[in-house]
């Protein structure tokens, strides 16, 4: 059961890391100027009620004390409340994380659909238009600001052509959203068999997913291309070639050998996009977790920021674990 032991060790390693993350973000966020008590009570609050609230929220204690308190609460699953939404952060995040995950999952799926075949094709053909296109695409995709591309897409497909719904959230206002099962609007609509909700939520996904997909196809393309090139030049492929195996079979083997590094780049992108898709979320009023955290930072709302950092660290962890498991499946050498 080396696999289980491996997972156990990974989790063990993660605990101090998580602690470090909370530590750094706690002190960082505490340094952000702005007094939450003043913002919660509004401008007319008396000094007395301000003091009372600060006392109640523990702001009068020393920082290490506050940190201990926070850690104590985190362990019990309590991430505090946001003064902006007046709701527990855990509840807010459980509402918003699925939105972000849906967006970036579909975005990355599209990115893979674009980047992987293009990368494989470009690695096989050393010259010609495909190779040229792939070269330019890889560089251009990495150069474009995602929020700008989103704006341009909105201008073309919403303002000018009116083909897409307004850049406003995940589903049409007049459509009842399906009951939450997975948190993904599209999947939930499918499960509920609600075609109206499905077409609406799908329509709302198109532009943001296109934005993320077009841009993130770049790194996937580059990684696929370079690993494929290396694999195609490697001894085992050359040997297979020399043995006279059909090209199709050789290519399939090469792709299989190149998969782990593609999986790696996808997982890295996934981890990055949890917080990195925030600009796209803002442009499309997506209501995702990144947006929640950014609003928190800008408005001195501490708990959402901390909560987001903890949540995304955990999600990244789960993703990396899944990637490792995928490795086990993909690479026979790791199974010994």
């Amino acid at each position: 059961m080396s696999l289980l032991r491996y997972i156990g060790r990974r989790i063990l390693f993660v605990v101090p890391q998580l602690l470090g993350i909370i530590l750094v973000s706690f002190f960082l966020v505490k340094l952000i100027p702005g007094d939450p008590a003043v913002m919660m009570l509004g401008p007319t609050a008396s000094q007395q009620s301000l003091d009372e609230l600060r006392q109640k929220m523990g702001f009068t204690q020393s920082l290490p004390r506050q940190l201990l308190h926070y850690l104590h609460d985190v362990v019990r699953g309590d991430l505090g409340t946001s003064w902006q939404t007046t709701q527990p952060v855990t509840q807010d995040l459980f509402q918003r994380f699925p939105a972000t995950l849906e967006l970036i999952s579909f975005g990355l799926l599209l990115a893979i659909a674009i980047g992987f075949p293009l990368g494989v094709a470009a690695a096989r053909l050393k010259q010609g238009p495909v190779r040229k296109f792939a070269d330019y695409y890889g560089l251009l995709a990495g150069a474009m600001p995602d929020f700008w591309l989103a704006l341009v897409l909105i201008y073309i497909f919403y303002t000018k052509l009116n083909w897409s719904p307004p850049p406003l959230g995940r589903i049409d206002m007049a459509v009842v959203s399906p009951p939450t099962v997975t948190g993904s609007m599209v999947i939930d609509s499918l499960l509920a068999g609600d075609w109206d909700a499905l077409s609406s939520s799908f329509g709302h996904l198109v532009l943001p997913v296109l934005t993320l997909g077009l841009i993130n196809a770049g790194p996937i393309l580059k990684m696929t291309q370079s690993t494929m090139e290396r694999t195609l030049a490697s001894d085992f492929v050359r040997y297979a070639d020399m043995c006279g195996l059909p090209r199709r079979v050789v290519l399939r083997q090469a792709i299989r050998a190149a998969l782990p590094s593609v999986v790696t780049i996808v997982s890295v992108l996934y981890g990055f996009l949890i917080g990195g898709a925030v600009l796209v979320e803002i442009v499309f009023s997506w209501g995702g977790a990144g947006q929640y955290a950014v609003q928190g930072v800008l408005n001195a709302d501490i708990n959402p920021v901390l909560g987001f950092v903890v949540f995304s660290a955990i999600v990244s962890l789960v993703i990396y674990l899944m990637v490792d498991l995928l490795y086990f499946a993909l690479d026979p050498r790791t199974r010994t």
Binding site: M39, G42, S46, T85, N162, A174, V176
Partner: protein
């Protein structure tokens, strides 16, 4: 009285609601998806959808002044009195409050009873007695009695929040001043005469609570049911709260048992849409009935659209810059005057407001009786500004900073235009962008040398308006302005019910204030109500918010 943008992370999703609009969605289902987004929602629907910049932060008007709070308060609660409504002189089909002086009427006001059937006012302004309407039920089914009025006032005393300001404005010093004289009779008694005793009653800070429900939900920790009122309602108004998801939407349901009859719009969806351009395009596409707080360019564009109407009425809103009188060099009157002469008001009105605003030529709303613009002298004149700076010993110019609200799209361009103009007189202006939700803090701290402010005094009274911003002890005198003569005039105005004498004193105060220029005077932006053409009944209130019960759909 004041509002603060509270921009919260926008909507995620809305579950279990919109039952009534489900039918609308179904009706549109046959249309191809791409087209349906442009379709107007069914015009016969009794659902009112509003695109607002933010959902209410709290429903307690004693604490919260954020956007949306007062739309909610006006729908959930009723007051004792309200102003009569008259047709708007400029916009056909629109109405407004009759806030003019009516010396022939009781209290000199055109007010009518709401929860109070009738009232009796002491000619000296020392007491007012209300006869309450009988048989009025709250949304919890409790009948309105004098105890509810008493509890409402006690709550203001108990919480010492915005209500405390209200009490001091009235000069009501003890809770005993509010007397229950019978099951349906209640009076307010003051030690000194106060001219605002009746005039303040329609104010949105004076809604009456259902005391029975409130005391039921109160706890030892929370004697005044703050938690409950923040998230729910216990009032006698035409709507009840169905759902409040902050940052996403609030849903209101009409009350069939409302004492003035069930309102026409059965369901009101108050939806948060932070970007004004998006609100405008939602209205244009017919997805919403009302788009609030649009930018001038969007208003201009919407005016030409089929199916959309924009009612532009004169309003109590003002926008200005607070010149901090405690921060040098703005402690010097000459410098403050120079800052006004250097402000390119005409250009700002044309470029930023697209001609939709009027110049702010005084220090209170021009729609209130007692306003005068005869002391206005600050037409753009950079030479004059230079000369004044020289007199102040700052001929070489100086450096300062201007803070503006990231959530209000007109402020940044105004700031940039001002920055350019100030360069001509040697003043270097640094711009500070402040996130919407913390902007109000920055204002109330009174530490910025110059900061934007958009506000309106809700009570349509000359003395009230002037006290708010220029009394040295007023809590929203954010420019730290202090002048003994003005303070004296304000005090005297608050103590007499003789309206002619009050106006005279306040004219004098306006003269002093205008000459001492504690603000940089920018504009009266007006109130621009953008809505679907088939929505009728818009009424303008000096509190600058809409009341859902006013609306009906024309057939």
């Amino acid at each position: 009285m004041m509002r603060r943008n509270a921009i919260v992370g926008p909507q995620v999703n809305r579950r279990d609601l919109l039952k009534s609009s489900a039918a609308v969605a179904a009706a549109g289902a046959v249309v191809p998806t791409a087209l349906r987004w442009q379709q107007a929602q069914a015009a016969t629907s009794s659902t009112l959808v509003i695109a607002a910049p933010a959902t209410p932060q709290s429903l307690d008007s004693n604490f919260d002044v954020s956007l949306g709070t007062f739309e909610a308060v006006a729908a959930l609660y009723d007051n004792l009195l309200e102003f009569n409504k008259i047709p708007d002189p400029k916009v056909p089909g629109a109405f407004r409050e009759d806030i003019a002086d009516h010396p022939d009427k009781p209290a000199g006001l055109a007010v009518q009873g709401k929860l109070a059937e009738s009232f009796e006012l002491d000619p000296n302004g020392k007491f007012i007695r209300f006869q309450l309407r009988q048989g009025v039920k709250s949304n919890w089914g409790n009948e309105l009695t004098a105890d509810d009025v008493k509890w409402t006032w006690d709550r203001k005393f108990g919480l010492k929040a915005i209500g405390a300001f209200y009490l001091s404005t009235l000069g009501l010093e003890h809770p005993d001043g509010v007397k229950v004289e019978g099951k349906y009779t209640v009076s307010i008694n003051l030690d000194n005469p106060n001219p605002l005793l009746a005039k303040l009653q329609p104010n949105l800070y004076a809604p009456i609570y259902d005391s029975k429900k409130c005391t039921e939900v109160a706890t030892d920790d929370d004697k005044w049911a703050r938690k409950f009122i923040e998230n729910n309602s216990a009032g006698f108004g035409p709507y009840r709260l169905e759902q409040l998801q902050r940052g996403q939407q609030a849903v209101f349901k009409a009350r069939p048992d409302y004492y003035l009859g069930r309102p026409a719009m059965d369901t009101v969806i108050f939806r948060e849409v932070p970007t004004s351009a998006t609100r405008a395009s939602l209205l244009q596409g017919g997805a919403v009935d009302i788009a609030q707080y649009l930018q001038p360019l969007e208003i201009i564009k919407l005016r030409g659209q089929p199916g959309v109407t924009v009612d532009s009425v004169a309003a109590s809103f003002m926008i200005w810059l607070e010149l901090n009188a405690k921060t040098p060099p703005f402690d010097n009157v000459k410098v403050r005057q120079a800052m006004n002469f250097a402000f390119p008001q005409e250009q700002v009105l044309k470029t930023v407001f697209q001609g939709l605003a009027e110049p702010l030529t005084g220090c209170m709303p021009n729609i209130y009786a007692g306003f005068t613009d005869k002391f206005w002298k600050y037409k753009y004149d950079p030479e004059m500004a230079k000369a004044l700076l020289k007199e102040a010993g700052l001929g070489a110019g100086f450096k300062t900073s201007l803070a503006y609200n990231a959530g209000d799209p007109v402020q940044e361009p105004i700031a940039i235009l001002y920055q350019t103009a100030l360069r001509d007189i040697g003043v270097e202006l640094e711009l500070k962008k402040i996130p919407a939700a913390t902007f109000y803090n920055a204002v109330s701290e009174r530490k910025q040398p110059i900061i934007f402010y958009v506000d309106s005094p809700w009570c349509p009274d000359v003395g009230y308006s002037m006290t708010l911003y220029f009394n040295s002890t007023s809590f929203i005198n954010y420019s730290n302005y202090a002048n003994e003569a003005v303070d004296k005039l304000l005090k005297d105005t608050a103590r007499t019910a003789d309206q002619a004498a009050r106006v005279e004193m306040m004219t004098k105060a306006q003269e002093i204030v205008m000459s001492e220029a504690p603000w940089v005077f920018i504009a009266f932006p007006g109130y621009h109500f953008a809505h679907r053409a088939n929505l009728k009944g818009f009424t303008y209130y000096t509190s600058n918010n809409i009341r859902f019960q006013d609306f009906a759909r024309s057939t």
